[in-house]
Symmetry: C2
Subunit: 432 residues, 2 copies
Amino acid sequence: MLKKNINIGIVGLGQIGGRLYKEILSKKNDIEIKTEKKVNIIAISAKNYKKRRSFKFSKKIFYKNPLDIAKNPHVDILFELIGHPNGISKKVVEIALKNKKHVITANKALMAKNGDYLSLVAEKNRVNLEFEAAVGGGIPILRTIKDGLATNKINKVVGILNGTCNYILSEMHSLKDSFRNVLKRAQSLGYAEISNPKFDLNGNDTLSKVRILSALAFNKKISTNKCLMDGIEDIELEDMAIADKLNFKIKLLGITEIINNKLFERVHPCLIKKDTYIANINGVMNAVILEGEPVGESVLQGEGAGPGPTSSALMSDLLSILRGNIKYPFGLPNNKRKRISSYDQKLYVNSFYLRIQVKDKHGVLSSITKTFTKNKISIKNLIQNPDKKNKKSNIIIITHENLEKNFINLLRSLKQNKFLLKKPTFIRIEKI
Amino acid sequence: MLKKNINIGIVGLGQIGGRLYKEILSKKNDIEIKTEKKVNIIAISAKNYKKRRSFKFSKKIFYKNPLDIAKNPHVDILFELIGHPNGISKKVVEIALKNKKHVITANKALMAKNGDYLSLVAEKNRVNLEFEAAVGGGIPILRTIKDGLATNKINKVVGILNGTCNYILSEMHSLKDSFRNVLKRAQSLGYAEISNPKFDLNGNDTLSKVRILSALAFNKKISTNKCLMDGIEDIELEDMAIADKLNFKIKLLGITEIINNKLFERVHPCLIKKDTYIANINGVMNAVILEGEPVGESVLQGEGAGPGPTSSALMSDLLSILRGNIKYPFGLPNNKRKRISSYDQKLYVNSFYLRIQVKDKHGVLSSITKTFTKNKISIKNLIQNPDKKNKKSNIIIITHENLEKNFINLLRSLKQNKFLLKKPTFIRIEKI
């Protein structure tokens, strides 16, 4: 990066791309002061040229085919903001890297799936592949792990990593409103996708971020292990109310840790004591807690999504490249990052919250508790809420700690119980 | 930094220096993997050669005069860990930079006083001057401002920046123990200096950190303005108990912000609502809250002091240099960092808590309230706690918002009140 004028291409001009475009133009001076480089956006590409946008651009810099930007010899740095896990996103990034362009992406799905391959391509071509915006929105968590906490031995990372889910759970809790209503509101506010919110709600989005965090925190290859992944779709207002009474909040957490040299990654809703730090991260905020040696516990918190925080992260990647910080995408050479095998999740020890909806009939309770005994799971608390009018009853159970394996068997047995009205809701209780 | 073998000198082998020495030796492999450099500690210096230490070193690498390390042509990177604001610390850093060595320091007092000059020397000699460990211990806050949030327009930074003070205030609150007792415990645990804890307790240490944060966050020269600075020495257990009843906690905050293009830096104890994030940072933890555009609010929290967190920060500086990230110490060239004039603190609008110890005599209350009226300060709450036995009384007052100017006049008038038994305790109420 010895030359003074640096040319930028942006592929994808949605909410994020649009905000970035304006941000770069408005910060040109600031960028030049901090890096001694003049930046120019010389190529942009979007699905729809004619879409109404809050900014103008010259027709001359618009490319119909994003691959033409990836190959354009005048482009030095390319932003990939399309967001597919494979397909055109992968192609654009791959070709740009092979053409010795630095690439900046906000695409967690792409990085979680193809990050190892793409970082190798970047390494071979001696260019940067930066992806700060892929995890934690405005929180500079990847940079903190790679630089700020470099050489720390990190043992565990716990995070609220999906703003949509956290917004929904927070609103359900504070407004005592249903999942469905809050989801609708989240969609109208732009916090949740309208056509297909599933990727956020089922834990998949969080899992992509967890996989990226594991690779960085533990200096390993990105895991492709099968993972414990549950979403928040089954959580009902009733669970919120019960959790509240029991002094818990419900949060969707992404957790990754090394146990006996094995990697244990998981994403699931958790019951967490109300007075903990992580229980009080509300709305679209994200937070990450790291445990490292020698630093101790580090916490980072910030806005997790949206054009503002995301463009802050993209700009930090841009400045890193302009300052000439050529780095390995995952902090060390690809061949030094080893695979790590998966911790057997069946050995995970935890206690559980279960809400079991049954017919309000004689013998139900003994039938249910018998199933627990048969699966070697002992009950700590049991609350029965009969709904005589509708001839049904809610049995709420907090268990003692037990192996995940036994819980899986328990759930399987419960499903066969003749009194059961619907699939039980179960939430793991997390001690944080 | 093209050569493979990098030689390190460490000046100062106290708790921090000792831990760093061991940390570098134990992480040599990790450093080589991440940076492709082999590091060797070839020179160390300490006041006392014979002091008992938890590690061994060869006599050959020991220098009596630290300036010989600063001048040693074989040393590439020098750590300054003596900790004086001027004198030998300044000399060692200056000479090392002039001899084209990169310098890493944990010395906030040095940076707050001489940071502008030393960063200019570094810039001229094209070497790095890194000081992550000077602020926030293990929290990579400086790196986050320079890199992670680069190009954000930061408007305000609020922090708990002194672990000693936060430990004392937390312990006074939770154990209902006196300032004096808790200070003794802090000293025995190594959280407070034994010979002279004043620099921590009177706010001076926090102010040094605030000055460094201002310069970085707002891209300005380090301010030498006269500052609003109060310490925690006057806070008594009684204030803790009253604050608790009023739903407040007492915290020592460092705050810097830009108001109407002027810089307003301040350090003082604050009453903060119990349910806020910052009120719940306890013990030796530090925390920093940044408000930036476009990122929104960012929070970083971590251990604020001690050899572990400090050596984590020092190591991150080392890796940054080894990776070849040659940067301006304050993120941009010295001549682009302008001076900024000081906000007139008399215009600061705030409400106050006051505890006024008076003789328990007829007419006291009307005499005190009259002084408030005369100074145009209106009272929101007033609590009177008479202590008949000792013929004294505590008058606790929460005021409405008013100008700092009027409070200063009020305090001056109160001191002349004939009923007064001692200087009133006053604490600003901070809305965060």
